[in-house]
Symmetry: D2
Subunit: 336 residues, 4 copies
């Protein structure tokens, strides 16, 4: 944990994407962080409006200049494509900044895995922490470079880790993670995939067995294999992970409840709803992850439903929660 | 197969519900069936408009009178709650009509299962066939009472049965069926669950381990246990079953393709898309079921994606497809 | 303006409706108001969950008892049907509370008009102010009973009053107000009208020439007649008023800009976007009203686009903005 | 009217856009037209799938070669940008084909207006008819080049022309046409404007006083000025024109009903709903235009609501309806 002069000066690279805009919105009401510089691509700074943010934050989005950004900032949030993060992140560290990176550039610790799934990135810098806040708080407080989790891993791991850590997951069980995400998860770039008419009134599965969030989950689960199939559903924001697992024979319903209650007793942003299944609408525009489940005690089959806002707990919100820890603030600051 | 005087006179009970209206739309352009009488609840006949059907079908919806309905009809489609079907169906059979029932009243053959899941229904009449068209054509042709499959079982079974029948499913595999349905699947009655604002921008899981379509699937799969978790997604119509299974070790990718190609070589309404995953938007307002998959040959894990329009192939369309067989017509008549 | 002991104790009647829930969300982060008691119908208190509000506000919703509510509160927000407000509001005033009413019970000053449009309400109490914040601040500060404007009038009047007050509206012009609202505007009760499938993929006009918000607008416009046609559009929340008018011949484009700039120079929640037309997505979940326009100087025709979140600036947000003025707080408190 | 060898060979240029795909769907079930050749841009033919059309039409989309297209076709539907239509259309006429053009290239008869609004087009060929079917049937039957109306003019003119022709419109009345369209109206190209997240949960006005459909309406209304403001609403397909007018003082309610009943007595695709206001959901996926109204007899103010499917009656459906007339078929052929 670092003691810092207040307010902490924050830089933001990638201000005009969906996660970047959400960060601006959150930072604007944070009492200790102040947004000192926001950068975007030259095109974005001239042609894209941020009308929703008028009077929330009225600063200018300027072209990215790493030296200028470093000079203006104590900590920099990177909401960039991973190749850009892989280049800009280490440069900012060298310049003495702390970094919170929202891309996948620094998530995988294994060199081989990183080379396969994120070929545009290089060696991992020193001082990287994986920012799944509820399970990595100590590492996060010390982090020089905070690697913020992917949206799908956030929802899925918060559902699975309590079961793993309490030893309830059956030995041979390979969890099936069937996930549903709003279209903002596909990014702001206009493509055939993000066209309104391709998604309205439809659902589409994609990336089965080949999504880059799979190795991230496997790493956090200590190598356990998972089946991960994401789907795009016709909503703007919000994400559900439906996690299908088998528990150790003989597990009682109470043990499931205890596993979750214990894991999240002091977690302000995880709301355990028990056997009431949570819905996406309960968490959008918040940093909450709601977790509930259905358990068939006779057979040991368990379905855990975990919902988040992909742009908040799945991106900007968790990033700010982590930055709060990095600077010794209450993790709720600016988020409740 | 029965030889019938043409055109065949059709009765419809439950004309104002979503499935009923879809049947009217389909029957209106069928060259051999003619809609002779349509009934609805007294409230429906006086207060509900069917403006979308003007000039498509301009008949009157009259209160249900079983004797009058039987007198007017050779075959009657029942789009009623199961308790009503359980009472009206046998009466119509006694009066000499053939019956196509869209409720769950006659789907489960096992008395005990039926008593548990459909307590408002009684003994099964003679001559019932289960109307999963692509696998039950012979029985369907002879049926006096056709029990039309549920929407979820239709999508899930069309994904699973080719794997079962070709012996590819691993012995111990209990399929995980994670399904997503549009809101029309929850019926036309206004409830908290069907309110626009409860569903827009949201996804909700429900009925995990306790949905009545589970025993229907288990029955068709010869007793194999499945995990079935349905979800409501914010679209009007359309349904996807994402089916997660394990195949026998050593299964080759080509064997998967052959299983589906073989099963549906002569099925006009199943489009096998191979490793291109189908989307709901491709099938809405049609009687098609599109089936594609992702296969991880190294581990034998397979994810099959099966999509239908829940009101067409999942209800009215498949009912008409079955009635075509019952009367010796080409099963495509009026559906393409 | 009243000087009050801090924090101010707030009561809320109608806590489980959409406006009520939004009020809870806003009050939870207000530094000077504290929610002391929230009431709902007996059914709501036992059967309806407010899962989205867990950890935001964890109080109980209790059955309405006017005496108990008055004893617990300095000021009470009424988010009730107008007949209930007409009865509860005066009783609370008698008990010494100040009241902020979100229904239409106290909006129309003319007895005859009120009898026609709100027959379930009675005589107007003393000390009523109409809470269109940007134009009634002085009256609002003194109000004992604050009558919060309707959602449609809020958007339409903020578009029209600057033109009226600067004398730009042509003498004979009767504005055409073509408005579009999300479905939450139709309330939380499940009806045919609020069913998901009746609205998804559709737009419906309703209440043309016969909506109760028409006389409210006419009153605020000093008797000028308007054509008002509202439409339901398939979104959860948000409202647009497209206002079509004619200006005095010879009006310059600069005069239009000046009229709006002048009217809202010190209004923190009205963002004037000039000839860039605002969109609903820019204002949802905020208390902003964004106003822009297209002007055809040659013919004097002007189209003003005004957008709000119907549950915030159109209901709970404006109510809180007004309560801030009533208690001498900065009107932005808890809203930005 | 031409007598043609049957079946009539149809060409289609622009097969992969939304209107083009809808034409394929409609032509596939037409008994007298047969789709002989469909063309698309080279990119479209190699990279875009039409999975929804499998088994409906299984032909190939080939690159556009005007000579080859002309040789294969008796009549060609052009679903192209107007500059392409302006070039391809006359060439096809020269080669002896008849042409149905869905772009704006040939809609405006006035040279000056065409030069202003469609600068990429040239002189008008001989034998052009404007294809507003219900009002131009005689000209359509003779047309060599049929210019299909825009989607907005179709809905607006079907609402206005009966009032004009029966002399009910007040002399000085300039109609206000406030229109709402689904996003498919913005085309298939991915842009910021067609991104899912920019439209979900939003409404956006655009093109006020500057939309190219305005001069098209003015031309059809004999020069009468209109205020036209279109809006994008979050639905895939469907369009509503809300038309606000003033009638001649003293007009009776019955006269309004008679004007519409008279105009559409023999129009199979216009359903007059009287004072029941039609909704978009009643007409999507059909060629119907539903028209209803609210009339305030005391003041002579009338609001006419006209709804169509922008891709059917607003594009492909009306084009086919017109082609039916051009070849002497019943106009309903293939459309009901």
């Amino acid at each position: 944990m670092t003691t810092a002069a207040l307010p902490v000066r924050v830089g933001l690279a990638g201000a005009t994407g969906y996660a970047g805009q959400e960060l601006i919105r959150l930072l604007a009401r944070h009492p200790q962080f102040v947004l000192a510089q926001a950068t975007g691509s030259p095109a974005a700074t001239t042609t894209r409006r941020l009308p929703a943010l008028a009077r929330v934050w009225d600063g200018d989005v300027v072209p990215l200049d790493v030296a200028a950004l470093a000079a203006a900032s104590d900590v920099v949030f990177l909401a960039l494509p991973e190749a850009a993060s892989a280049s800009v992140g280490p440069a900012l560290l060298d310049a003495g900044c702390r970094v919170v990176d929202l891309s996948g550039a620094f998530r995988l610790r294994d060199e081989e895995a990183r080379a396969r799934w994120y070929p545009a990135t290089g060696a991992l810098p020193e001082g990287v922490a994986y920012g799944l806040t509820e399970f990595e708080a100590d590492a996060i407080r010390q982090a020089r470079l905070l690697s913020n989790p992917g949206c799908y891993p956030t929802a899925a791991l918060l559902a699975l880790l309590p079961l793993m850590q309490s030893g309830l997951l059956a030995d041979q069980c390979e969890p099936v993670i069937d996930a549903k995400s709003g279209i903002s998860g596909a990014g702001k770039a206009p493509t055939d995939r993000t066209h309104f008419c391709e998604n309205h009134g439809s659902v589409a599965a994609y990336g089965a067995f080949h999504h880059r969030h799979t190795p991230e989950m496997v790493q956090a689960l200590g190598g356990r294999r998972v089946t991960f199939v994401p789907h795009l559903v016709p909503l703007d924001r919000g994400l559900m992970a439906s996690v299908h697992v088998r528990l150790t024979p003989g597990t009682a319903a109470a043990a499931v409840a205890e596993a979750f209650a214990g894991a999240y007793a002091s977690a302000p942003f995880v709301r355990v709803t028990g056997t009431t299944l949570p819905e996406i609408r309960d968490v959008v525009h918040t940093n909450f992850c709601d977790i509930g489940w259905a358990f068939d005690a006779d057979t040991g089959r368990l379905c855990v439903i975990s919902v988040i806002d992909n742009l908040v707990k799945g991106a900007a919100g968790q990033a700010l929660q982590n930055a709060n820890l990095m600077y010794g603030f209450d993790e709720r600051t600016g988020l409740l």
